[in-house]
Subunit: 508 residues, 2 copies
């Protein structure tokens, strides 16, 4: 008779194998998505949709397979009997959570959501163009109703917004985030106002960010590739391509970044590439041996975003980074930069533009205000204290409070983001949680690695990357965003470090 330990181990290995298989299947879907954004001939949309649909169907079948359920149950029993270790517990609990999520929803509901998301996208695009919220309102109503049904089915009965959040950041709740955001808002709104006054005064004196025109795209490509490689992105295990909107796709040994090039805005490609490379560095740093299990997955969207923001903002907008980058830029753009001083160049990389209404165009100070606004509205919608019909008015009011301006129409207000057309609620807070975590990691890293900025000035980023690999990447999904932040930084996840960082960099 085989001993019990080996039976447990075999069952656990079988579970890991099933999870790995699911991950491989998902990675094929991911590649189809990447290819759609990067390569797909314009006439091949329907053909690609058929491929994506079939893959989604196969993924769903594998994710809901009764054998997977039995494998999880077996491992749970082994855990209860003390037969598996702490790592296995992480894997099994996450597998149970995912399995329940996907099996407890009737396929009729899943199909309805997919259909509504697909239709919703087109309704939203038309409504945005027409600046007409009322055309989009029924889609939003239906998505909210579906989200409530999902929450009821998945044991989040009276906390539907928590389910939406938990989907992107396992373990986090609206109450937790709400508390942090109140504190952040209290510090950020005055800071933004102060900066606004300063920028307006500078403008009045005729000062402002330098205009940059006609930057050779081939040279831009060389720069972003050289910079991201230097930060540590491994091009033997990844790529950089062009797409309409920058993104990062893939995992393990095949991580693909995209960016876009604008001859009149060389900093756009630079910073979007660094941002995506931050995501990519995280994916390349997750433990490959655990691919597909919670030990090999990112901790959640907030931590993922902390990685992209840390490299994009704390690192790549710093004086030290620019003292290394400037000579490379001048070598690649001798004519384009001939009239631009080093000070002006670094200032352009740190330009702040108060009064902007569009989230995706916002600088790192104002970006968070856009998020606070959305979180507040999503929370009220889910709580039932805000009706969909009243959403545009509430948006405009909060816009005035937080950004100091009301949108002129719904296209630059309540209809500006695609997320709600697909029922993607609870995603927005991850961005600002990521900014908070990035600032906290930055503080901890500077404490742990005293020579860091000197290294940046020499174009050396291995110290920081190594620290992130050890402190963050290697841990997979063992912890939620709060646990991870506490362990690495010694501080509770919160807005203090972010406010201090923004004050230090933009306060004067």
């Amino acid at each position: 008779m085989p001993n019990e330990a080996s039976v447990n181990e075999k069952g656990y290995e079988a579970l890991r194998e099933r999870l790995r298989r699911l991950q491989v299947l998902g990675s094929v879907s991911g590649l189809l998505g990447w290819d759609e954004q990067v390569n797909l001939p314009e006439g091949a949309g329907e053909q690609r949709a058929a491929q994506a649909e079939l893959l989604a169907e196969l993924q769903h079948a594998a994710a809901t397979d009764a054998g997977l359920g039995a494998a999880i149950t077996g491992c749970e029993q082994a855990l209860a009997a003390g037969g598996l270790d702490a790592d296995a517990r992480v894997v099994v609990l996450a597998a149970r959570r995912d399995f329940d999520r996907v099996t407890k929803l009737p396929s009729e509901l899943v199909a309805e959501k997919a259909r509504l998301s697909s239709e919703g996208y087109h309704v939203w695009a038309a409504a945005r163009k027409a600046r007409d919220f009322s055309a989009f309102a029924p889609v939003l109503e239906k998505h909210l109703a579906l989200a409530r049904r999902e929450a009821a089915l998945l044991g989040f009965g009276d906390r539907p917004y928590d389910l939406a959040i938990d989907r992107h950041d396992p373990g986090l709740t609206a109450a937790q985030i709400g508390g942090l955001f109140v504190e952040l808002r209290a510090g950020l709104v005055p800071l933004a106002r102060r900066i606004g006054v300063r920028v307006a005064a500078a403008k009045a004196r005729g000062e402002g960010p330098v205009a940059m025109r006609g930057f050779d795209v081939t040279a831009q490509q060389r720069v972003v590739r050289a910079v991201t490689a230097r930060l540590g992105f491994d091009y033997k295990r990844g790529r950089l391509d062009v797409s309409l909107h920058p993104f990062c796709e893939g995992s393990g040994d095949d991580v693909r970044l995209t960016t876009r090039f604008n001859a009149d805005d060389p900093l756009d490609a630079l910073y979007s590439s660094i941002h995506e490379a931050g995501h990519g560095l995280y994916e390349q740093g997750l433990p490959l041996a655990h691919a597909g299990t919670a030990l090999g997955l990112a901790a959640g969207m907030a931590v993922h975003e902390s990685q992209s923001r840390l490299w994009e903002n704390q690192v790549a907008r710093s004086q030290a980074f620019w003292s290394w980058l400037e000579p490379m830029m001048r070598a690649e753009f001798p004519n384009e930069l001939s009239g631009v001083s080093g000070v002006a160049l670094h200032a352009a990389a740190n330009a702040v533009e108060p009064g902007g209404l569009i989230r995706v165009d916002a600088d790192e100070v104002h970006y968070n205000l856009h998020i606070l606004l959305r979180f507040e509205l999503e929370r009220r919608l889910f709580a039932g204290t805000l009706k969909v019909a009243d959403l545009p008015g509430a948006w405009d009011e909060l816009s005035e409070e937080m950004l100091g301006r009301r949108p002129a129409h719904a296209g630059e207000g309540v209809l500006q983001d695609v997320h709600w057309s697909g029922g993607a609620f609870g995603y927005f807070p991850s961005y600002t949680l990521g900014n908070m975590i990035a600032a906290q990691l930055w503080t901890a890293a500077r404490r742990a690695l005293p020579g860091l900025e000197g290294e940046f000035a020499r174009g050396e980023f291995g110290g920081l990357l190594g620290w992130l690999r050890t402190e963050v990447h290697a841990h997979g999904r063992r912890e939620d965003a709060f646990e991870l932040t506490k362990r690495v930084t010694g501080e509770t996840l919160g807005p203090k470090a972010l406010l201090a960082y923004l004050e230090e960099r933009y306060g004067n």
Copy 2:
């Protein structure tokens, strides 16, 4: 009670839907393969192998699904009762053939072949490098044994080579092809010898193809894209990329060509692109409404190759084509071509190089001799009249007879091709059958469309493409290569037209 016709129609629609699904799944595998050749980061090989393996497993599961078998059986019964039309018969018979092929082979054999092919590739690559056939011989022995087992299981007991051929060209046999090849050899060897004497004499006089060096690769890209678009390749439904070896992948609305660029050989990218575009035009011309069924698939490899060769050789090496292309080439390469006359340029496109030992480098006259040699050897190996151990000697002997030269070592002889390392027998004859069909189609097209060459001289190719669409592409797999050739050209598939074409173009 529903009437019988509607029951039949429903069953047939269900079968079509299953076949379409299989095709979609196959197209995802195809995309993974394309991406591997075009985009894959060098470190991602293992990850891609896991994706490809899982997709192959899912495809196998779908192709052997009992429900598919039942759907086919149902349709066969409907056909027997006269309940479905001739088109349906084509689809059902092909589905039965494919289903039997894949279900009658035990998975143990399929796995063994996959393993042997994978190992065999590496053994072959090392053996070729070491010029040591004996290292590769055991792989070839095992592949031949597996092919015999497959033939026995699939009802080709005493004709294993016919199974290998039938896989690429449904309905064709070694005996049929052998007869055509004897006739072709009788005409081609003396022609090649005559050309050889002439080329040698020209060389002795210091004449020969003009050297072309330093052709700007960006300009080459523009040329090949413009030319293939002009031939009719629809870039809204396809792409052109770069890979180590040119190929064509995909179908329907997403057909992807690849080529490679060599600054010192601009005709390489040009002709390989046109060749692949010929394949691509066929794929883009197959009836989309029948995707996945025999009505929407290419007739076979020989007909596929006829399309690539027709555009590459008959069209794009013609005087008329060059009279259109030359001004574009001169505009794109003003310096590179400054010392090259129009006559020299066209001569370079029609250069013949006798005495070459490498198939993939051969011109259109000698290429067929390389094929005749391989067909002859495969046939003897399968018949058992040639032992694997004696293969190198037989290769060298035939090489002397047909090409006028013996290889100096196995690397430029018996080990030069990758095909046998993967057990891909019976593929070689398709190339020369394709050349025969291309020449026959060319003869028929010129008869049907008298102004064709005048059109080429004006850069108009829609007449020929339209004719091919109607006569060839629209028919899918309704006919085998013989039936198709007979219907379109009025002549039996054979070497006469090819010999006449080669004589006309290269005889003097």
